[in-house]
């Protein structure tokens, strides 16, 4: 019984917590209660992780309850290795974010915790849904809490950032909604078919759609995900949202929300519409590379620490997208692990920048200098997170980027190693801007008197960061622990794509 | 024998005149009179159809329409009186607290 409903428990535990919060008045209790529920959720996901059997094919922990009969919509959950890793990441980062913002949120504490827990429900739901309708509901429902988190607790230009974030995401997702409806309708026109949004059924139905229409479907889905990732020309909401969001908001935004875009590509765009995916593959790869280079260059010239980290996300996600569209087992494995890495390291960087801001009330790089002497702990953690992000061997980033580049190098689908070669330069640029930033902030002498008085990290902050660092090192040293979980799912996906490719070639002949 | 089309044609012309009146006039009362023209043209069409098909339903409907017209004019004129008390005008160009 416990295991058959485990996913539901995981999704709705935070919701129960959120509702309970409304009944409490005392702020300390509110904070403790929300951390408690986030922790329970995390423990449940760990249980999920341990009971997940990587050897079994297909989706596990499946729950199926019919919900709306006339449209054949069901409450249909299930996970594979890819979603498993992201679910654990989500619950982990939510817990971290809540603990980290213990003292940084001063107004409307109850609402803040309420919205963070609500956000967690949405994020977890997205990764668990096997029904497009259900998926869409979680996908959109998650927008609202994030919107409030940015808009109420953000910095100066928060309203602008929140509205921009909302509208951008909405444009993409509503077109996706039409595509979802069209898919359901298409299923009903087949002989003996009914209207359905069941993903498992659609996996076999969708590839039979005539290529002309399939292309539109692919574009509608991919646009929505590309905005979320964000892929290069659609990224303009990201720096605003990340910079203006409060610390916890930035962590979850970078750590989890962006992954929903890449997850969507893996879960929907590729397997549902393989033939159209092949058509757009070069374009997507080029956009990914432009994103890598562009993100790096723009990061270099940023004066604001938070903006710098934000733009570095564009570059990192470029790697992930490149790995996905290279369609080899190595590259997609790399992308999956890189999603987790980015969540951990960028999350950590946002936390560190947030903590620095809390102590010094500025984020301008030029306002700092020589902090390594004043705040040794902070400098150390910052260094580890930064190096993880750069991709130093032995830390997590290296594993992901290496796999992606290897895969892209030998990918049949990309057809040429040129993409991989250009992308490699991105790794170097990342080292340049991150190290330069680190040098300006933490090395040299302390030339501003305000910086002398900055307090170092307290125990709570150290605990939070240490928890992240454990995983940063773990993935760096022994990635197979995590890679082994997602491998079968990735292999199956690549198989599907290869088969589709062969089929398409056969049809051509 | 007068063809049915003649009656319907006449009613369509009257209807058009009514529509043009509503769209061009500025005086609430005369606009309302144009509406009455429209209703009457519809009545004429109904009676003609009814007579030529031998079905009394059309006449019954006209009977109801006349009752409705009476009700409408009572309410409409009351509204005009109420407005007149406040604004001393029935010219809808001068009714401009709200944009038209």
């Amino acid at each position: 019984m416990f295991e058959t409903h485990l996913l539901s428990y995981i999704i709705f535990t935070p919701l129960v917590g959120a509702v309970l919060l409304l009944l409490v008045r005392n702020e300390t209790i509110v904070k403790s209660l929300s951390i408690l529920f986030a922790a329970i959720t995390f423990i449940l996901t760990v249980v999920l992780y341990l009971t997940f059997d990587a050897a079994k094919p297909g989706f596990q922990f499946v729950e199926y309850v019919p919900w709306i009969y006339s449209l054949n919509v069901a409450y249909h959950l299930g996970i594979d290795g890819i979603s498993l890793l992201l679910i654990v990441l989500t619950s982990f980062l939510t817990l971290i974010a809540l603990v980290a913002s213990w003292s940084s949120i001063s107004k409307r504490v109850k609402s803040f915790n309420f919205f963070v827990l609500l956000l967690e429900v949405g994020m977890l739901g997205v990764f668990c849904s096997l029904d497009l309708f259900l998926f869409y509901i979680f996908w959109e429902a998650m927008l609202v809490p994030m919107y409030f988190i940015i808009g109420i607790w953000g910095h100066e230009r928060r309203v602008y950032a929140a509205v921009k974030f909302f509208i951008y995401t909405m444009v993409g997702s509503l077109l996706m909604l039409v595509a979802i409806i069209w898919l359901g309708y298409y299923a009903s026109t087949l002989p003996g078919g009914t209207f359905t949004t069941n993903l498992v059924e659609l996996y076999s139905i969708a590839p039979t759609i005539p290529l002309g229409i399939q292309t539109w479907m692919f574009l509608a889905f991919t646009l929505s995900f590309a905005i979320k990732v964000p892929i290069f020309p659609l990224h303009t909401w990201l720096p605003d949202a990340h910079t203006e969001a409060p610390m916890a908001g930035s962590v979850l935004l970078a750590g989890v929300l962006l992954k929903m875009g890449t997850y969507g590509l893996l879960r929907f765009s590729l397997p549902l519409f393989p033939e159209s995916a092949f058509k757009f593959l070069p374009l997507m790869a080029i956009l990914a590379i432009v994103g890598i280079i562009y993100g790096a260059f723009v990061s270099m010239v940023q004066k604001d620490l938070k903006k710098l980290v934000a733009y570095s996300s564009v570059a990192h996600l470029g790697f992930v997208v490149l790995g996905i569209f290279a369609i080899t087992v190595e590259s997609i494995q790399g992308s999956v692990i890189q999603m987790v890495n980015h969540g951990l390291t960028t999350g950590a960087l946002f936390l560190l920048v947030g903590m620095l801001y809390e102590k010094r009330h500025t984020r301008l790089i030029s306002d700092f200098g020589g902090l390594a002497r004043v705040t040794p702990f902070l400098a150390t953690f910052f260094m580890i997170a930064m190096l993880g992000s750069v991709g130093l061997p032995g830390l997590n980033g290296f594993v992901g980027e290496f796999l992606i580049l290897v895969g892209a190098f030998k990918s049949d689908f990309l057809g040429t190693p040129a993409y991989a070669i250009v992308a490699t330069s991105g790794v170097i640029f990342a080292a340049v801007y991150l190290l330069w930033m680190y040098q300006r902030v933490f090395f040299k002498t302390v030339d501003k008197p305000e910086n002398e008085k900055i307090k170092d990290l307290n125990v709570r902050e150290i605990a939070v960061l240490a928890a992240i660092v454990v995983f940063v090192v773990w993935i760096g040293v022994h990635p197979i622990t995590f890679l082994s979980k997602s491998e079968p799912a990735v292999k199956a996906l690549v198989d599907t794509m290869v088969k589709a490719k062969v089929g398409a070639l056969g049809a051509l002949r | 024998m007068i063809p049915l089309g003649y009656y319907i044609g006449l009613s369509a012309i009257l209807f058009t005149i009514g529509v043009v009146g509503v769209l061009t006039l500025r005086n609430a009362i005369v606009i309302f009179m144009s509406v009455e023209l429209m209703l009457n043209s519809a009545n004429l069409a109904l009676i003609a159809f009814s007579a030529y098909s031998g079905d009394p339903a059309g006449q019954i409907l006209v009977f109801f329409v006349i009752a409705v017209a009476a009700a409408e004019s009572a309410v409409g004129l009351a509204i005009i009186i109420a407005l007149f008390r406040n604004k001393l005008t029935v010219n809808i160009d001068e009714v401009n607290v709200l944009k038209w």
Partner: protein, 474 residues
């Protein structure tokens, strides 16, 4: 005799409400200070007729010589009207007292209007449809001008009246032509003769004129110009009632004419589709620039008529279900939004600008949360009622091979998100202005709002039950 007791039972909600409103009229006339008693009596009456409706739900058939439908279709809409009226009435007492227009006639006329709506939704004959529409309209003309000392209210009433009468002209002429083509005004007989008459241009011209007449009532572009002025000038509770009840009634009529009786040819389908597209786009675009919240809601209500028209244009069973579901969902969210305005506004016109809502979340957190909920539902965010309605309507468009209409619809919704969010931004993200005082929130008003909010959530989470109610309608 041309009717029997079964007939009477089958249309008992209508008969009951007629008798009850006459009773109310007598009470109003014979007491010295009747307003409060009328208020409670009206609520009781509406609740009772709601219950009667539930009992008639499965009595499908017709009554009074085929003049009216009985059973599922009218019952569904009757419930919508009763809810719309009951919520408006619940909100009315505090509002009327605030505006000092607490007269018994208000409640009587409101019941008459509800009665008219019920008759429209039960009509199996164009004659009955016409009379129901007129009963509703005439009562609403007066209610729109209920604040007699206020020039805005007078003008709202006059504009509503002139445009309404104009629309009546079109409707009646359309009925006349359909009668000419089919030789009957009975919708079922029109349907029976449809195979013969469907090539008669007279029928289609008549149908088009009926469409024009009803388009005024649902406020479809380009027949919408009266809406913002009338909603702004009318008492706020009446604006809420008009924008939900009378719109739902007009949609009931549209379903009866176009989905039950005269199945639109593809040309007419296309015309309705264009009407829907223009209504969605223009309604939402103009709503963007509104600063007055009542005008904003008026344009939003125009846009929502466009969404529901998608279901009529699709002319299939999904579309029919979509329209019915959407009318119920829309009733709750729109009355909720107007309800919040009515609870907050005062006689001096405060809380009528969107900017007056700045920092509301600090002052009245519950009211702000409810308003935010209604805004999100109107914007169509899942898992709220508005989202599911749109999903159904767009699905009907896609399955009628009109995917372009669904795309226009979602793009229009994106636009709408902006102005709905604008209210949320004001309430939550802006600071409270200096020296603002809080408003006394009446308990009755808050009750109505909470009921509406609960329904918005509930309809979104378990839409299946309502959808099941919309099957096998006739």
């Amino acid at each position: 005799m041309s009717f029997n007791y079964n007939d009477m039972i089958a249309v008992s909600p209508i008969l009951f409400l007629s008798a009850y409103s006459l009773l109310l009229l007598i009470v109003d006339a014979s007491l010295k200070r009747p307003a409060n008693i009328c208020y409670w009596l009206t609520l009781v009456g509406l609740v009772v007729s709601g219950f009667l409706t539930v009992f008639t739900y499965n009595a499908s058939g017709n009554a009074f010589n085929g003049m009216v439908f009985t059973g599922r279709f009218p019952a569904f809409f009757e419930i919508v009207f009763v809810l719309s009226a009951a919520l408006s009435v619940l909100l009315s007492k505090p509002y009327l007292e605030k505006e000092r227009i607490n007269f018994g006639e208000y409640y009587t006329l409101l019941l008459f209007a509800t009665l008219g709506m019920m008759i429209m939704a039960s009509a199996r004959d164009l004659m009955v449809l016409f009379l129901g529409l007129e009963l509703m309209s005439i009562s609403l003309y007066v209610l729109a001008g209920f604040v007699r000392r206020d020039a805005k209210s007078n003008e709202a009433s006059l504009k509503y009246f002139l445009l309404g009468a104009f629309a009546t002209g079109f409707l009646l002429y359309g009925i006349a032509l359909v009668y000419g083509a089919s030789g009957t005004t009975n919708l079922s007989v029109i349907l029976e003769r449809f195979s013969v008459t469907q090539n008669d241009p007279l029928l289609w011209i008549g149908a088009a004129l009926i469409l024009v007449g009803l388009s005024f009532k649902i406020s479809a572009v380009p027949f919408h110009m009266w809406v913002p002025d009338v909603y702004e000038g009318s008492p706020t509770t009446i604006s809420g009632f008009m924008s939900t009840g009378s719109k739902a009634a007009a949609f009931a009529a549209l379903v009866l004419v176009f989905s039950y009786s005269v199945h639109p040819s593809w040309q007419l389908q296309l015309v309705i589709a264009y009407l829907a597209a223009f209504t969605m786009v223009i309604g939402n675009l103009i709503a963007l620039v509104q600063t007055n919240i009542k005008r904003m809601l008026a344009y939003s209500s125009i846009a929502h008529a466009g969404y529901a028209l998608v279901g009529i244009a699709a002319a299939n069973s999904l579309g029919r279900t979509g329209v019915l579901y959407y009318m119920l969902a829309y009733t709750f969210m729109q009355i909720g939004a107007f309800g919040v305005v009515s609870v907050l506004e005062n006689k001096e016109g405060k809380y009528l600008q969107i900017s007056d809502y700045e920092g509301l979340a600090n002052k009245h957190p519950v009211i702000a949360a409810l308003m935010a909920l209604f805004m999100f539902s109107l914007a169509g965010l899942p898992p709220l009622a508005g989202f599911f309605g749109k999903y159904y309507l767009f699905a009907s468009a896609v399955s009628a091979q009109m995917t372009w209409l669904a795309v226009v619809g979602v793009l229009a919704s994106v636009v709408s998100v902006y102005f709905y969010l604008n209210v949320v931004v004001s309430m939550y993200f802006k600071e409270l202005p200096e020296g603002s005082t809080s408003v006394a929130i009446s308990k009755l008003g808050a009750t109505a709002l909470i009921i509406a909010a609960a329904a918005v959530i509930e309809l979104g989470l378990t839409p299946g039950y309502v959808v099941a109610l919309t099957e096998r309608l006739f």
